[in-house]
């Protein structure tokens, strides 16, 4: 609790431009679901628990992290193994979704 207070004290003592920068960063990093809506339609890489990567355009995501990608490459050990026009990935297999 006291450390948190210290850190807020520090941020308030920053010059105003820098303080603005912090809130701008917070807007992008501190809310996972706003990140997801931000990258919908964009090119993403999805890694699943088996280590396989899927590189494609994010169409939709839901609360279970079920994902639909368009024009997707399946990458196994760094090599493109297959291509999908559209693919649904079941959310429980997802490790991460990253914007490229």
């Amino acid at each position: 609790m006291s450390t948190q207070n210290n850190s807020t004290d520090k941020s308030t003592s920053l010059p105003t431009e820098q303080a603005d920068e912090v809130t701008e960063v917070q807007k992008h990093t501190y809310d996972p679901s706003s990140f997801l809506s931000e990258i919908s339609g964009k090119q993403v890489v999805v890694k699943i628990t088996s280590g396989i990567l899927y590189n494609g355009f994010l169409q939709t995501v839901d609360g279970y992290m079920n994902i639909v990608l368009e024009n997707t490459q399946e990458i196994v050990n760094g090599e493109v193994k297959s291509k999908y026009r559209e693919v649904f990935i079941r959310g429980n297999n997802v490790l991460y979704i990253s914007a490229v």
């Binding site: 839901d62 193994k81 026009r85």
Partner: protein, 98 residues
């Protein structure tokens, strides 16, 4: 009832809509343990459990003696229920293998 079913239309707003739009179409399903299925989708639920017709299953496994060798075996089934927890991905068309 059927009118309101029509009104769901072909628009996709959530991921499971892709599976709904594949009803009565051939789908490709990738499962855990190196299993793949292609068959006609007759039913699914929110867990991705499915009933597929005219299914061909391909099982890929690493050769016991030679780790670099992969053996595949295919099986057929007329009507198959697949439990959703084994599903990794579902695609409305068979992927282009490279």
């Amino acid at each position: 009832m059927s009118a309101s079913i029509e009104s769901q239309g072909s628009f996709m707003t959530e991921p499971l809509d892709l599976i709904r739009l594949s009803l009565n179409e051939t789908v490709y399903v990738k499962l855990r343990d190196g299993r793949e299925l292609t068959g006609r989708l007759h039913a699914y639920d929110s867990h991705c459990s499915m009933v597929l017709g005219d299914v061909e299953e391909t099982v890929s496994s690493i050769d016991e003696n030679d780790v670099s060798k992969v053996t595949t075996k295919t099986n057929k089934s007329d009507m198959l229920f697949v439990r959703g927890d084994s599903v990794i991905l579902v695609s409305p068309c068979v992927p282009e293998k490279l």
